[in-house]
């Protein structure tokens, strides 16, 4: 058996790992059906994730985690290049950093240092700010099936490790600041992720940025729970955990769905740039409807899969604000403001995907000539959409099923019922829509006439543009321009780069350049310089030796 000498490897399953396995299964099945049946690396990647979930000792956990990292690195390497550069190098750097933090963390005694290292290492993998800049570059690179599982699965594994160590392994040494650190990182990711999701033009990059946002939302929920548990408030801890776990479940269903859809769009049109798409809803109606389900989840709209977690999270933050001192009060109020901003930004991003990409007129011939996605893809996406259904309509039942996990993580957690009831709301909305429909049938003029669209008063397009002049149609960039002017300039600066890239990656890059130049200078040194260097080193050595003996 592989494992530490004399001990072997321990595997086990408990409610927490079972829950995360449940998240993993549908997306892996869907991606396998849709794209990745035959890729060995994909299955190794999946094996790594499963191993990390089933691990019952630190060794197996690290083995699984690193297997997952290595396999996904290969998949990113084989993926396409973004702006002429492969993100694989950056990805490997982050993977090495996260391994360098994770491995000492899991073998250190429980405490602040261990949790801090763990948070750095695993947070980098989960795409938590400030180490998230790699995610919007690396996740879109591989094929759609892999992107789907990376966003929906790999990020969850990283968060699983935070939960496993924060609540269970380090559970006795828990301190409130752990939760605060998680919340701060989460809030920053939520803000930057949702803002970039509303501004980016490439469909897959938009989805990856939205993954950063959702990882942040889960982290905020976990942070609330961790802090509450450290402060001995099981009711609040359980509310925060409910929000985080439900958000993880929902994200694991709708994000792979959207990524698979983006892959199908790429297959049909050869591009995923929203500025080159348009009008896909008529060419690909089934794909469009499935994307609509995913987008409703991404935007956290009521009656969609994403609303119940958002609802719980907002309530958890409100409850946390009421339960602390003045700093907590102000902090949680500001956090609530950030969550409100980003909820509306997420709505903007989702509306932009559907409104610009799938509605309107085709912006290029490629988009005009698109055909419906192939059946395996639709089946895979349909499976994930079916997984969204219980989350959307009966989140209360899903929460009941989560109760064992929550009582595993927070001893003596009270059972709390969900105050959001989608089914009565759905009934009310359907009743109203039916009333409007039949009222119109009764009183309004029957029938309708097809007419040329008004197109804002532009003239008739020339004959070689059968779908109208694309330049008269708002683009994805144009749609996001007001947000870019009001918020993008303030947060991302005039160049529109991520703060994490500007303040972390760019200095690292400069440092890398300087070290390379130094190494190159050493390599190119003449014999005389080398001899001088060796001589100087010898003198230094003897000097130090002599001083040491005297003193």
């Amino acid at each position: 058996m592989i494992g530490l000498p004399g001990q072997g490897m321990h595997l086990g399953i408990d409610p927490l790992s079972a829950l995360f396995l449940c998240m993993l299964v549908p997306q892996v099945v869907a991606s396998a059906i849709a794209v990745e049946k035959k890729s060995v690396t994909f299955w190794v990647f999946v094996l790594g994730m499963v191993l990390a979930l089933l691990a019952a000792d630190a060794y197996a956990l690290v083995l699984g985690f690193e297997l997952m990292s290595a396999a996904s690195w290969l998949l990113v390497l084989r993926g396409e290049r973004v702006e002429g550069r492969s993100p694989a190098l950056l990805y490997m750097g982050i993977a090495l950093f996260s391994a360098a933090c994770l491995i000492p963390a899991v073998f250190l005694p429980a405490g602040g240092l261990a949790f801090g290292l763990l948070l750095l290492g695993v947070g980098a993998k989960a795409g938590l700010a400030p180490l998230h800049a790699w995610l919007p570059r690396a996740h879109p690179a591989p094929t759609a099936g892999v992107s789907a599982v990376m966003s929906g699965g790999m990020v969850k594994i990283a968060l699983y490790i935070i939960i496993r160590y924060g609540f269970i392994v380090f559970g006795n040494a828990i301190e409130p600041w752990w939760g605060v650190a998680l919340m701060v990182a989460g809030a920053a990711s939520v803000l930057i992720g949702s803002l970039r999701a509303a501004l980016e033009v490439e469909l897959k990059t938009v989805l990856a940025c939205s993954t950063v946002e959702h990882a942040g939302l889960i982290a905020v929920g976990l942070g609330v729970a961790l802090r509450a548990r450290a402060m001995d408030d099981p009711a609040l801890a359980s509310l925060g955990l409910q929000a985080a776990l439900l958000c993880a479940l929902a994200h694991a269903a709708f994000k792979p769905l959207l990524f698979l859809g983006a892959g199908a769009v790429k297959q049909a049109t050869g591009t995923t740039s929203l500025n080159w798409l348009g009008g896909l809803m008529r060419a690909m109606p089934r794909l469009g409807m499935l994307m609509l389900v995913g987008a409703a989840g991404m935007a956290a709209l009521p009656l969609g899969p994403g609303f119940a977690p958002e609802f719980l999270l907002l309530h958890a933050v409100i409850a946390a604000a009421g339960a602390g001192g003045v700093m907590a009060w102000i902090g949680f109020t500001a956090l609530l403001g950030v969550l409100g901003l980003s909820a509306a930004l997420a709505l903007a991003a989702a509306v932009r995907i559907i409104g610009i990409g799938f509605l309107g007129r085709p912006r290029t011939l490629h988009a005009a000539a698109a055909e419906e996605a192939n059946t395996p893809n639709l089946i895979g996406m349909g499976l994930l959409a079916a997984c969204c259904l219980p989350l959307a309509l009966t989140p209360g039942l899903v929460l009941d099923a989560l109760q064992p996990v929550i009582s595993q993580l927070v001893p003596n957690a009270p059972e709390a019922a969900l105050a959001y009831a989608p089914l009565p709301l759905l009934v009310l909305m359907l009743l109203l829509a039916a009333a409007a429909f039949f009222g119109m049938r009764r009183w309004a003029a029957r029938g309708e006439r097809e007419a040329l669209p008004w197109t804002g008063g532009f003239g008739k397009p020339p004959a070689w543009l059968p779908f109208g002049d694309p330049a008269t149609q708002p683009s994805a960039t144009g749609f996001a321009e007001p947000v870019q002017r009001a918020l993008g300039l303030a947060v991302l600066g005039s160049a529109g780069t991520d703060p994490s890239e500007r303040y972390i990656l760019a200095p690292l890059n400069r440092l890398h350049g300087q070290v390379t130049r130094l190494a190159e200078w050493v390599r190119r040194a003449t014999v005389r310089q080398r001899l001088a260097f060796v001589f100087a080193a010898l003198v230094m050595f003897l000097l130090v030796l002599g001083l040491g003996q005297n003193g």
Binding site: I318, V326, M429, G456
Partner: protein
């Protein structure tokens, strides 16, 4: 059993009134504005006639519209209509009260907004896209500001539903507080943005570059346009009721107590009328803002919400 029946009747009455009076409120606003500007103006019944006229017309559907073109008006209407059923009007403790969680209401407003945005992007014409982009911008700030205000309400009342908050404010001992003053200011700013009234958007504007809500509906006609316009009217009466119920809960009836209904009905109508007069006066005395001033306006609202939360904390500490 009898009590439940009475509550059901009250809920039906509430539904009938709020759906029936929504166009009237819009009409009253229109004629009041005209009077204040020195014109004679249309009668308050004009919106009913407009809706009837639109219903009688055969809609023109753009030939490049997708199947979802007819779907958006229904989504927008039923989301706002659901809110109208959940927000207390003349009486508390309606049958729908347990559903009226404030965050659910914010979600439903977002759903209705999303439907209008997608309707604006449906045929890909320039006005629609520009209007949708601006509406998104307003939504970002107004949702954040509203959430912070909701935090204040929930922490004061200890109940997340609008009904619970209103009940607490009606019967609890809260008096006048600085915190609620700030919250009221923030909420009014958000209401102006959400209903598209003058400093933010011009409801009577047609074909001007600054318009937002109307710009997204330019490709709609006939009964579909009527549904969108009716949803906008509902949104106005819903926001009026929401503000009246929370900040001015005096006279609110109990759905289970028949004899409190007349006072509740009268006070509700009086509050709606007072708010209409106030809004009309405000609208004629200010000019519409530039689009990029609106985020600042709503940012101030958000700041007021934060201040309100801070004052609430300070007051709680001083009082307790």
């Amino acid at each position: 059993m009898f009590l439940l029946l009475l509550r059901c009747i009250a809920t039906l009455l509430h539904a009938g009134l709020i759906f029936g009076l929504a166009p009237l409120l819009m009409g009253v606003m229109g004629s009041l504005r005209a009077r204040l500007l020195g014109r004679s103006g249309p009668t308050p019944l004009q919106p009913y006639r407009d809706l009837w006229k639109l219903l009688g017309k055969i809609p023109l559907v753009p030939d490049n519209a997708t199947e979802l073109y007819k779907f958006w008006p229904f989504v927008s209407f039923s989301a706002v209509g659901t809110i109208a059923l959940l927000v207390p009007g003349f009486a508390l403790n309606l049958v729908s009260a347990p559903l009226s969680d404030f965050i659910t209401l914010i979600g439903l407003f977002a759903l209705s907004r999303a439907a209008v945005l997608l309707a604006g992007l449906e045929t890909g014409f320039g006005f629609g896209g520009a209007g949708a982009g601006r509406d998104v911008l307003f939504g970002i700030f107004s949702e954040a500001a509203l959430l912070v205000v909701v935090l204040v309400f929930v922490l004061i009342a200890g109940d997340p539903t609008v009904d619970g908050i209103a009940t607490y404010f009606r019967f609890g001992q809260i008096g006048i507080s600085v915190s609620l003053g700030f919250a009221l200011a923030a909420m009014l700013a958000v209401a102006l943005a959400e209903t598209g009234r003058i400093p933010v958007d011009n409801p009577s504007g047609h074909l001007e570059l600054g318009m937002v809500h109307e710009a997204m509906l330019l490709e709609y006609s006939g009964r579909y346009l009527a549904l969108f316009q009716y949803a906008a009217m509902l949104r106005l009466i819903v926001w009026f009721s929401l503000i009246a119920t929370i900040f001015c809960p005096f006279g609110l009836a109990q759905a289970g107590n028949f004899f409190s209904w007349p006072l509740g009905l009268l006070s509700w109508l009086a509050k709606l009328a007072a708010l209409a007069v106030a809004l009309a006066c405000f609208e004629v005395s200010t000019a519409k803002m530039r689009v990029f001033r609106v985020p600042e306006f709503l940012g101030v609202a958000m700041l007021l919400g934060l201040l309100s939360a801070v004052f609430l904390f300070v007051a709680g500490r001083l009082g307790g």
